[in-house]
Symmetry: C2
């Protein structure tokens, strides 16, 4: 058995799993943003041809999973496992999508950190030898999230300056044991602790999630003996503008300058003229930015090593109505561009 180093929260994979293929799917606003060229599929129709927004979100997941699987010539039904989650109550988009895939399914919930959680756990399943191939997936949809967490869309409520705009999109990765040739591999994973600094404003999730991102990234750097400059990028997803500033301030107090390598998926997906206020959010944000841009850059060697740190706000509409504060969580994985065999 692999020796677990006592007191280390970060998992170092003995045989770093490879991400064979990935796909990003987006909606209308994503198609108007700066990363639109990098998406595999874009749906100008919010309904994606379905009857409800929830079905549209299921369709986004399905397209991401099948597109990623197709890219590595893997029939979906031959996957050993699907690990996925979303923002809907009872993770409905994922459960119903899994119904169509007809493969073993483990539902996850990490709010907007779900893509990182699924990559971390999927990598454990591969490195532990429990599965040959696994799909990690996450999605969100502006319309399903907005009416669940905030107001009916038709109400036309004003958005606050700190509010983020839920991504309509999904990302999916197919993982398995490393093969020969150019590849992207998951070398480390840090599953994070819930942090709560008492933020009760559900429209300021960036502030609620920044302490969690700080804790997890600091743990990862400490456990691996690395520094921010050892990475081509440390990508959070998705703190937005407010949370990103707070994260860098928290690191500044530790005497660490994160600003040179830090980027946030929530500030990358939309342009400032797109009226998204503090940036993008939702499980689909970091999932689609990862699968549209970051993994391609790693495969092409434009980046050698990055941290992908998914951040989630774990409140529910019910707990917010009850006056509870918003707990944040952050899960991180280290992704490396690799060539050759293990």
């Amino acid at each position: 058995m692999r020796e677990k180093r006592r007191g280390m929260a970060t998992i170092q994979f003995a045989n770093p799993p490879q991400i064979y293929a990935w796909a990003a799917v987006g909606g209308k606003k994503e198609s108007q943003g700066p990363l639109s060229h990098a998406f595999d599929m874009l749906f100008p129709d919010t309904m994606c041809g379905e009857k409800t927004w929830e079905q549209a979100e299921m369709h986004l997941q399905k397209c991401a999973i099948y597109t990623a699987a197709n890219k590595c010539d893997m029939p979906v039904e031959r996957l050993d496992l699907l690990m996925s989650g979303d923002l809907l109550g009872q993770c409905a988009a994922s459960g119903y999508t899994a119904r169509g895939c007809k493969v073993p399914y483990a539902g996850l919930y990490g709010a907007c950190s779900t893509m990182a959680e699924s990559l971390a756990l999927a990598s454990c399943m591969v490195d532990g030898g429990f599965v040959e191939t696994v799909c990690a997936c996450a999605s969100s949809h502006f319309c399903t999230a907005e009416r669940q967490y905030r107001f009916p869309l038709a109400y036309g409520g004003q958005r606050t300056p700190t509010a983020q705009w839920t991504t309509t999109g999904a990302g999916a990765c197919i993982l398995g044991p490393a093969k020969d040739g150019a590849s992207v591999r998951v070398t480390h994973a840090t599953l994070g602790k819930v942090q709560d600094y008492g933020i009760t404003d559900a429209n300021n999730m960036g502030a609620a999630m920044a302490p969690a991102a700080h804790d997890t990234i600091r743990t990862l750097l400490s456990d691996t003996g690395t520094h921010p400059e050892d990475y081509d990028g440390i990508y959070t997803g998705d703190l937005g503008e407010v949370g990103s500033r707070l994260l860098c301030e928290l690191f500044e107090r530790d005497g660490i300058d994160l600003t040179q390598v830090h980027q946030d998926c929530g500030t990358m997906l939309f342009d400032s003229h797109q009226d998204a206020h503090a940036g993008a959010s939702g499980c689909g944000c970091s999932a689609s930015v990862l699968c549209a841009v970051l993994l391609d850059e790693l495969l092409e060697g434009k980046q050698k090593r990055i941290v992908f740190a998914g951040t989630g706000a774990l409140m529910s509409p019910t707990t917010v109505q009850q006056g509870e504060s918003v707990p944040g969580i952050c899960h991180a994985v280290v992704l490396e561009s690799g060539k050759g065999t293990n």
Copy 2:
């Protein structure tokens, strides 16, 4: 790396993880049922002294986790990982409980199969050498579930004969590498596929989940080359009376008699005079029956080997209102009573 046998969905653990300790916590109805003597804690007050039912459910989880940890002299903050889930939107009971535990947290969603899902994934994390100790936990609360899935409690809606009664309770297990001495170990895990036979009646979840239980248990038996009579019990949780009959009928069609060893956590928790109709349900049902009764019987040697097959209905209130059918899932683990070293 462990050799994965192609086409096998069932994971066989190389070094079966041990369940060091467990705890079951219940509410008022559970305290009046036939298993009341076996619970670690019972709360006659539906609020558990908290201000909301949701906070009460968080308290149930907290009590289960801390009681289980205390039993094996494990300070909760020294756990490497907490894997838990519940029925609430955004798995709120688990996320807020994790906030208080201050350990790495991976949120799961498998509806009423969550305890089996968390045991299966937690065992992978231990056997893979990724963590030393992990807590698997699940909970439900009648009042939080009823007002979320069905009607406000004050409305006093009539319950149908096929309806099940959501358990107010939680179960928690602490797992780690096997040690010397008497123990309960997880030897196999089968993560299930979503099955949907088109049931649209959200008050007949047993019927919706039975095909999933059939598929997963059949897969487990086939992959391990075992037969029902090789087990002291095959425990589903929770099909209730209706789903249990259907499960045995589905196996009868395969020429397999499941009736001699099958029991359902949903029919064990309440007596027929308790007006629970088709039986108990909720993540807390199979979790608390497992931790109140089954694991003790294994440790005492009253049972040598059992299948614990958690069953979940993956619908959400939104998908039910939209006329979607109810997808079922079942995850199973094999638990063995063991003595001596690996």
